[in-house]
Amino acid sequence: MNMRARGRRSTALAGGLGVALVLAGCGASETSSGGGGGGTAEGSDLTIDCAPYEEFGDLQGETVSIYTSIVDPEDQPHIDSYVPFEECTGIDVQYEGSREFEAQLVVRVQSGNAPDIAFIPQPGLLATLVGTGAVVPAPAQVEANVDEFWDESWKAYGTVEGEFYAAPLGANAKSFVWYSPSAFEEAGYEIPQTWDEMIALSDQIAATGAKPWCAGINSGDATGWPATDWLEDVVLRSAGPEVYDQWVNHEIPFNDPRIVEALDTVGGILKNPDYVNGGLGEVQSIASTEFGDAGLPILDGSCWMHRQASFYQANWPEGTEVSEDGDVFAFPLPPIGADGAAPVLGGGEFTAAFNDRPATQALQTYLSSADWANVKAQVSGPGWVSANTGLDIENLTSPVDRLAAEQFQDPDAVFRFDGSDLMPGEIGAGALWTELTNWIANDKPTQQVLTDVENAWPAS
């Protein structure tokens, strides 16, 4: 291989734990806008068992590069979480995050300049990269960890054509409705346990002249994705996980009657002028509202409910109390029909490796271990969770993250990965976004929206 022309940052990192954690501490105190006491770990007890990495041989002085879409301020906890591993092995882990990750990773892989490891947020992208032949299968140690700590549905998402490539890393739970516990209590509203109760509550709120829901799907060049989450959540509830899988894999047409029904159910909320868009305008305003700002009207009482993932806790302004009886909290989006626990829609990253150097494999092994999940939980502020069942929920600082982790660890809860991340890029990151945006912005009819997505599905 070519000589690596990477800068060596070992001097900065050799300073060790102390320096890194001081940095982390001040970063967290300034950016933990989610409130909830962004406590970071004290550092002294962050030691791990070095034994699993000894079998990779002497790795002193090796460098492993990681490329991700996770940037400031969420990047610092990642960097800190490698410190125990670096101390065990003497490996220097170089972390690079970029908001242009997806496009840039493709450029780098195509140019032969792939990083050692990339955190890939979509199984669809993973499959594409595997198709280029650049990704190497996960080593046995990683596979053993994943078998031990993850639900098999997660392992399946890291598997392409029967070969296991990528272990899951972080996760986020998407099936949450944010609300204000204090406002609910004042008004005497109860948290709905079923879909019907939720609609009844919405009607009750609408009858007072207020708008119960607020939403926003604008996200720059990814505008539309929050709407895809809505649709997926409802398909998972109304049609069930089997139909969901068939739909995502295009074994049934995209405009199957059950999907049309699901989107109409979503429309019953998002396109109901009595329900939306609290504090933000007419139905149309959903299309232009930044998804990050869309829940904020809850704080001033002009909106009551906002469906968004657990990571939304980072969007509440500094000083907002996120807790079960605070300013804001989340309840699981209730199931449709009577039976069972609410299904969980989620997302997450996967660690793909582009070479099989021992140092790379050692880091892969560490990242798929329960040790890493617990270290990461301790150095992270609110807004991080993993579906790793070895994660001790007590290590999580935020109540919302604990709620999410409980859902992931609940063996009865059906988990499904965010479908738009599983579909081909031109659908899941293209036509579906655009069409659902049209559905809201231009009131395009449901049937036509889904038919147009169906027609855009790539032939093969």
Binding site: R8, N277, L280, G425, A429, G430, T437, A441
Partner: protein, 329 residues
């Protein structure tokens, strides 16, 4: 060897920078010295000395990728299967791409004309006034701002909030609308007018360039020409129309051309403000989306080739100007 590749301290970086510039100067110096030495060398040898490094860089950095792109446009998604003109057929027949083409046409006509017009009028108006340097600095300012910065700036102009009690506007334009009693508008959402609001941003960024170059050209008009016209009783608008504009014609062509080409390539503005949604995409943005987000390299390449083709009229126009200039000389 490592010293030349890895620079991690500030001193080292500056040393490396100095070395790079010196190396460059030494190579160029040696090259020029070599072609200048022999007493009677053919012109083309001298020209090769002056032009060689430039042409070499362009061949490797632009010509080769451009040719690879042309080739790629006839292949499928991952470049392995020959598909003939399929990608072009897609571009010209699908509704989405029709909008993209129309938008690109709007951009490439409106941005250069309005930018040049505004730059010219402004440069003429503030020329040799007491506030000239301040006035120019103000219009030049957007040039100093990156695209990311510019898109944030315009977010605070176009941002929409509904007209409801307790909700305040964040966008300046909607605040003005509310003040005069009009409903706030979704400037970036409603096609086709949203394309025009994006074009405004591009004009805002580019006007400083036009103004600067044109102002320089205005100052270069010989005094006696103006004097003569003045003595003929020409003044005000007529002076602008019959003396200033014809005198700076070459500069106008340069500015129009440059801005037109920059506009054809623009994708930052569209990408950061609407992401090409709501019917605002242009060819350059669509290329990026297709090639790097949807992994459809073939279709992306076809769009890029379309850009090459779109620039042909501009090249032809400039060649004719070049010919004219040659004849005059």
């Amino acid at each position: 060897m490592q010293w030349f590749l890895d620079a991690s301290t500030t001193g080292h970086k500056f040393a490396l920078m100095g070395f790079a510039i010196l190396l460059f100067a030494a190579v160029m110096g040696a090259l020029l010295f070599a072609v200048d030495r022999p007493r009677r060398v053919p012109n083309w040898v001298v020209a090769a000395g002056f032009l060689g490094p430039t042409l070499l860089l362009l061949l490797v950095g632009l010509v080769y990728p451009a040719l690879a792109t042309v080739r790629g446009s006839f292949y499928g998604r991952d470049g392995s299967e020959f598909v003939g003109l399929d990608n072009y057929a897609t571009v010209f027949t699908e509704d989405n791409f029709q909008t993209v083409l129309l938008n690109t046409a709007l951009w490439v006509v409106l941005v250069p004309l309005v930018t040049t017009g505004l730059g010219l009028v402004y440069a003429y108006l503030v020329d040799r006034t007491r506030f000239e340097s301040l006035a120019k600095a103000l219009v030049f300012l957007p040039m100093a701002i990156s695209m990311v910065g510019a898109s944030v700036i315009w977010k605070f102009v176009y941002e929409y909030r509904p007209d409801q009690p307790g909700v305040r506007q964040i966008g300046l334009l909607n605040q003005l609308l509310v003040l005069v009693g009009i409903e706030p508008q979704q400037f970036l959402l409603n096609a086709p007018s949203n394309t025009f609001y994006l074009i405004v941003v591009m004009i805002w960024i580019q006007a400083g360039f036009a103004m600067t170059v044109l102002s320089a050209a205005i100052k270069a008009i010989p005094d006696d020409v103006i004097e003569a016209a003045r003595l003929d009783g020409v003044s005000g608008l007529q002076m602008f129309r019959y003396v200033t504009v014809p005198s700076i014609r070459p500069a106008l062509v340069v500015v129009l051309t440059t801005v037109a080409i920059v506009t054809l390539k623009v994708f930052d503005v569209v990408r950061t403000m609407t992401g090409g949604q709501f019917g605002t995409s242009v060819v350059a943005n669509e290329f990026y989306v297709q090639a790097f987000r949807q992994f459809n390299f073939g279709l992306g390449a076809a769009l890029a080739v379309l850009l090459f083709v779109l620039v042909i009229p501009i090249v032809v126009y400039n060649v004719r100007q070049l010919r004219l200039a040659e004849e005059i000389r």
